[in-house]
């Protein structure tokens, strides 16, 4: 029953400017793909097009090879959870959860039974008689999730469903969503601006900037093999050094690093956690620490290596202070070169 979603050259515009521009994306049956990007990048628009809430200008949305574009939202085998719980204020919690079943003509007794089951799934048993507004924000969002899952949709669409919640609740609801998604095996497209949320929850991540996909892959790829400087920056990589590759070596202001990249100009990307402080007899680049911030789990430091700023994270026990002369080692296996 799991469905394969294919977006082909999907283009959506409001007025003249395309908000989503020629998007190609496949969500394999039963997997969860996170559509990640900053606000305004077009990710929510993409989701609305899949739900049928807006009509793309061109391109196609296919479920299991069949275009769903001719179908209005209510006829697509889709359930969607929004950023706000959006519970219908004039209905009890139970009626809210049963709303979709009612629209499908399911009888009252079965509606009540299945709504109660769905509420148990989201760990809110016995709230069916309560009214919206009597529950907390996290509970309401779980009700909203139950209202979607009770329909046993082929496709689940999640539009930033945790971003309105407190940090502690967010983790709790996030883990619940992951668990329910896996047990239901429902194909899920999940929109978020939070790369950590995407990393934790998703089988695959699709990063979208300015209406276009930048990189699609396993969460790990975005940290270890970012496709561009922009992708690396979005995932928090602070180090991008311009230079050039020749004969398997990148050369730049910080010296030489052995890399696996074709000849030509290239920017060396290196996560700050990967930069190592080494002793003076070890090969590396000399630098002077310019400032440090203690974060509890580590010490964030910035060092000046002959005019190039290098960000690094040292062990919390390391006594690194501004003014210290240090030697930096850039481990080749943690370095990536992208075309500049």
């Amino acid at each position: 029953m799991a469905t394969r979603i294919e977006l082909e050259q999907l283009t959506v515009d409001y007025g003249a400017e395309p908000v989503v521009d020629g998007l190609d994306l496949v969500v394999e049956p039963g997997t969860l793909v996170a559509l990640l990007g900053p606000s305004g990048c077009g990710k929510s628009t993409t989701l609305r097009a899949v739900a049928g809430l807006l009509r793309p200008r061109s391109g196609d949305v296919r479920f299991d090879g069949t275009s769903v574009l001719p179908l209005p939202p209510e006829r697509r085998p889709v359930a969607m959870v929004f950023q706000a719980p959006l519970l219908f204020p004039h209905m009890s919690i139970g009626d809210n959860v049963a709303f979709g079943l009612r629209m499908r003509g399911v009888g009252r007794a079965e509606r009540r039974r299945r709504a109660a089951e769905a509420l148990e799934q989201v760990r809110l048993p016995g709230v069916a008689e309560r009214r919206p507004g009597e529950l907390s924000g996290g509970q309401e969002q779980r009700v909203s999730l139950a209202r979607a899952l009770v329909l046993q949709p082929h496709v689940l669409l999640l539009d930033e469903p945790f971003s309105a919640l407190d940090a502690s609740l967010r983790t709790e609801v996030r883990d619940l969503v992951g668990e329910l998604q896996r047990s239901a095996g429902v194909t899920t497209l999940f929109v978020t601006h939070d790369q950590e949320e995407a990393t934790v929850l998703a089988d695959r991540v699709a990063l979208m900037l300015d209406g276009r996909l930048q990189q699609v892959g396993a969460p790990r790829d975005f940290y270890e093999r970012p496709a561009s400087v922009e992708v690396a920056r979005f995932f928090g990589t602070a180090n991008a050094f311009p230079g050039a590759v020749r004969g398997g070596f990148w050369r730049g202001a910080l010296g030489e690093v052995r890399v696996d990249a074709p000849d030509g100009p290239g920017t060396l990307l290196l996560r700050q956690e990967a930069v190592r402080l080494v002793g003076p007899d070890h090969p590396g680049a000399d630098a002077v620490v310019t400032r440090t911030t203690y974060t509890g789990t580590g010490v964030r430091a910035w060092a000046d290596a002959g005019g190039t700023e290098v960000a690094l994270v040292a062990d919390p026990s390391a006594r690194v202070a501004a003014g210290d002369r240090v030697r930096l080692h850039l481990p080749p296996d943690r370095c990536t070169v992208v075309r500049s």
Partner: protein
């Protein structure tokens, strides 16, 4: 435990002020009440010297036209409330949710009947009413009352819609509701409290209207205010008083029924008066 200073003042203001306000509102009705049961009420007696059920009996006497007036007023006011609500539902949605060319002009034109005295407009359109046979008919009176009621209803509904979360409709669609089902099961219930208030306004405006009714109805369509005015002109004060009470009672009951929507927290009228 000693209460802090300010709440004491607040409680005092409430304990004294609220009864004063109620007194100010209700006291004018006391003479009406006394007159309406009076047989003889000579100056300077404080209460009627003789009681009589004549005024009240006259209200329900078929030959007195009061029942006709009550029926006319009710039918006209309910029609105005219903039609104004239907217009307000769509006009309010357009004004509250969408921006379009000429929106400010539409808003101004909607308000125009409030700004321009109704009597001036009515004198002008009466010519057309006569030409199209609407003069001296209930239909004509309903139409001219709508002129006065629609602006208020549209303005109330536009602020109600401005506070409506449209994503509720999207959510309903994705849960399998067709557009008509969304309207009936989600949108209408969500705006219902505001609509009840707006319809009450329309009802009250029509119920109390005198000049427009007289002009267009030409005296052939007798509503309660028209009858009351006629009795005020006569010297039969007890009947006028009873009629006055009959005129006031339905609106008060209606307001009592809808007051929870006006005061309720869930009422999306927070933006009321914003337009």
């Amino acid at each position: 435990m000693a209460a802090p200073g300010l709440p004491v003042v607040g409680r005092l203001a409430r304990a004294v002020g609220l009864p004063l306000v109620l007194l100010g509102l209700l006291l004018p009705f006391l003479p009406l009440l006394l007159w309406s049961v009076a047989g003889r009420y000579p100056y300077p007696a404080l209460v009627p010297t003789e009681r009589s059920s004549r005024p009240v009996r006259l209200l329900v006497d078929p030959s007195s036209e009061v029942l006709t007036g009550l029926v006319n007023s009710t039918v006209i006011a309910l029609s105005v409330a219903l039609i104004a609500s239907l217009i307000g539902l769509s006009a309010g949605r357009a004004l509250g949710l969408h921006s379009f060319r000429g929106k400010r002009l539409v808003q101004f034109l909607l308000l125009a009947p409030v700004i321009v005295p109704g009597i001036a407009v009515t004198l002008g359109i009466q010519v057309f009413f006569i030409r199209y046979g609407l003069s001296d008919t209930r239909r004509g009176v309903v139409l001219v009352h709508l002129l006065a009621a629609v602006p208020y209803v549209a303005l109330v509904m536009s602020s109600v819609y401005a506070n409506l979360d449209l994503r509720l409709e999207d959510q309903a669609r994705t849960l399998g509701a067709r557009p008509l089902q969304v309207l009936l099961r989600v949108t209408l219930p969500a705006v219902a409290p505001g609509l009840a208030v707006a319809a009450t306004f329309a009802f009250l405006i029509s119920w109390g209207e005198y000049v427009l009714t007289l002009l267009v109805g030409g005296g052939a369509v007798k509503t309660l205010p028209l009858l009351l005015y006629a009795y005020l002109g006569s010297t039969d004060v007890p009947v006028a008083a009873a009629l006055g009470l009959a005129l006031v009672l339905p609106p008060v009951l209606l307001l009592a029924a809808t007051s929870r929507f006006l005061a309720g927290e869930r009422t999306p009228l927070a933006g009321f008066g914003r337009v």
